[in-house]
């Protein structure tokens, strides 16, 4: 189709897709490649990379395999990134759609609420939430969702607000369609592409937030994550650079890949929308 052709013309987006593919495969295959838990000590402590072919990325101060940590960390990053974004998108779309479609008082109230959440420092709030409810995968996911929905709500509200006054929506009112029907069949399909683009970029931000939280020691104690690995490597910076370098590169590549995909989606989807004025 046209969309895929346009997407494929963007080399950055293709590279992003390739990197993400590798990360996803790694996440799914982690238990197959590394049957032993990443928390388990499997070799000599502090082996530098490629000194022992069994540990191409070296080991940490407790003799845990860095490579295994990287693979298992991918699972946490992707899981939390995707689920927290999904939750945030559901919250944001609901609030934004109601505010934008009904306008007036409803809009005022919902937007004050959204502005409140947008004003307060997001990361500080996530830290407070996770700390108070104890770090578990659920609390981390929800905390990230709670601090990341406002931009979606504002975006969707803006789209709904402008589409609501568009003539084809007015026409739907005139032919007697009901409010909810208009929202779902007339407006939402036309607002979906910016939502998809924003959501894809939000996954990247969520992964960064998750790694920052676990770097501060607010990760789920049962799951190995990239941020935790870097946090643990902090005191060993002088002795074992590889402990912090590789997980950082992993985060960087994953986030970069998702951002590239998001931009590719944006480029591929937007001409379609602009085509109307062409």
């Amino acid at each position: 189709m046209n969309f895929f052709k346009r997407y494929a013309r963007n080399y950055g987006a293709l590279i992003g897709l390739a990197i993400l593919f590798v990360v996803v495969v790694l996440a799914f295959a982690a238990p197959l490649i590394f049957p032993v838990s990443p928390w388990q000590s499997v070799g000599d402590p502090l082996l530098p990379p490629s000194e022992d072919p069994a540990f191409p990325f070296g080991t940490d101060m407790l003799g845990r395999d860095i490579a295994a940590g990287l693979a298992y960390g991918a699972r946490v990053s992707l899981l939390i990134g995707v689920i927290s974004t999904a939750v945030a998108v559901v919250i944001g779309v609901s609030i934004g759609a109601l505010a934008g479609f009904y306008g007036g008082r409803v809009d005022d109230l919902l937007m004050r609420f959204t502005e409140f959440f947008q004003t307060i420092p997001a990361f500080a709030m996530a830290v407070v939430l996770v700390a108070i409810f104890n770090p578990t995968i659920v609390s981390i996911t929800l905390a990230i969702a709670v601090v990341s929905w406002p931009p979606v709500a504002r975006l969707v509200r803006g789209e709904f607000l402008s589409l609501r006054s568009r003539e084809f929506v007015q026409a739907a009112v005139v032919i007697g369609q009901s409010g909810p029907r208009i929202m779902f069949t007339q407006i939402l399909p036309n607002a979906i592409s910016p939502i998809i683009v924003t959501a894809s970029l939000m996954v990247a931000t969520a992964i960064l937030t998750e790694s920052s939280l676990s770097f501060l020691g607010l990760g789920d104690r049962n799951m190995m994550s990239w941020g935790f690995m870097i946090g643990a490597a902090r005191t060993m910076l002088r002795e074992a650079w590889w402990m912090s370098v590789f997980p950082g590169v992993a985060i960087l590549l994953t986030v970069l890949a998702i951002n590239l995909i998001g931009e590719g989606l944006n480029d591929a989807m937007n001409p379609h929308l602009r085509g109307r004025k062409g």
Binding site: R166, E167, F168, Q170, A171, A172, V173, V174, I175, G176, Q177, S178, G179, R181, T185, Q186, P189, N190, L273, G275, R276, K277
Partner: protein
Amino acid sequence: MNAPRTPLLRVENLSIPLPTGLDREFAVENISYDLHAGEILCIVGESGSGKSMTANAIMGLLPDYLNPSGGKILFRGKDLLTMRESDLEQERGRSMAMVFQEPLSALNPLMKVRDQIAEVMEVHGERNAETRDRRVLDLLEYVGLPDPANLRDAYPFRLSGGQRQRVMIAMALALEPALLIADEPTTALDVTTQAQILDLIRRIQKAKGMGVMFVTHDFGVVADIADRVVVMERGIVVEQGLAEDVLNRPKHPYTRRLIAAVPHREAHDAKAAAEGDLILDVRNLRKTYRSGGGFFSRPRVVNAVNDISFTLRRGETLGVVGESGSGKSTLGRCLLKLTEVDGGQVLFRGSDVVPLSAGAFRPLRRHMQMVFQDPFASLNPRQTVGRILTDGPVANGVSYADAEIKARELLALVGLETSAFDRYPQEFSGGQRQRVGIARALALDPELLVADESVSALDVSVQAQVLELLQDLQRKLNIAIIFITHDLRIAAQICDRIAVMYRGEIVESGPPEQVFDAPQHAYTQRLIAAIPGLHWNPRLAVL
């Protein structure tokens, strides 16, 4: 008028190729024309004819992806196409200047009017700030702006559309250029403002002896100001000559077609509309907009619809004519309850719909339909034409199968192929889309049709076809139409009665003959005097 030997501007075999993959190879192809000092040359054509392209090419303002592939643009004998950018910069603003279509976006929103005008003089070497200041004041005065001493310190958003265009003209005149290019300078303006701006341009042109190149789509405007005319179609010059000849004795079939489509008051065979049933009885309708205001300041109040009453019978067409801000569109939206009404009654077949809740009114909606203005925005780009046409009947309880049969019939009725059913709106032209919009309204067998500026976004030849379709359908289906428009010519052509709106009120109403020939209200008189090409009869030209 005796034209001098060497023209001020000579366009010679100019060709500008389009990027590959578009519907044609050249934006303009092999076009040639001359412009002499002291004359107004109108370049006229429909959208996509390439008429603005040459104007931009002369000024060297073409977008990066467009480069002339052949020909010359000789300005006072020098070829502008081969000139270096820095030399061109010297000419631009000093010896040739340009006025654009959209005066708001053409002005820098963050710069005071005086600074924008003074900048022209500054970049062309006027170092003395005091001289520049004095000149700005003179210019603003010259283009007829009120209170120039205060107005020069205003930001563009504070000015009205006409005032902004006057500022643009002042800016263009700052260094008394020999050539003034005006690219649809009155298209975004109201008709009375348009008349003033046209007057201004003509007056300045005479006084300064400039050569003016005036790009327009409106033959009425051509009739008002042109000395000579160039007619363009799809990138090619099809006809050129003295205005008098082209307007009254057009030779090329395309020109003839265009002129035949120019809306003009028709001799009406007085229809016996007064005998139809009363469909709509509007009494003292009121709509007020409030904006701004807060704890300390009062809100701004605008009476968009102020105490309006009228009636409409089956088979009758009422034209509601007014300029922007007159409240004519708000009136249409009030009738269909697309916006809250603040007072008065709308009796549809005898019962008042104003107090009805949205839910209670919904079953009645099918009787009152609307045809919208923008053929691009009025169809959902994500739905097929079939879906668009069947949605209405389905929402009103008709089975999809029946709705589909009806939709295909309607497509034929409005002059589209029935295969259009499965295609998306993007695949159609503006005129075809507007036909789909009309079919959508008719799918519900309405008794009242509100057409809000339904043809104003269309090219004149398409406009004529859609108007014809509407009239034709009305004869067949005997529906009542409220036709909202800014164009008196169109109203006069198709309406049985005309209501003139001004600042939320109907200031005058009656049959077109009465409104045109014996306008009572001062505003109506002004409006009629401002009609472009009033003294030219396009019907006689193509007899």
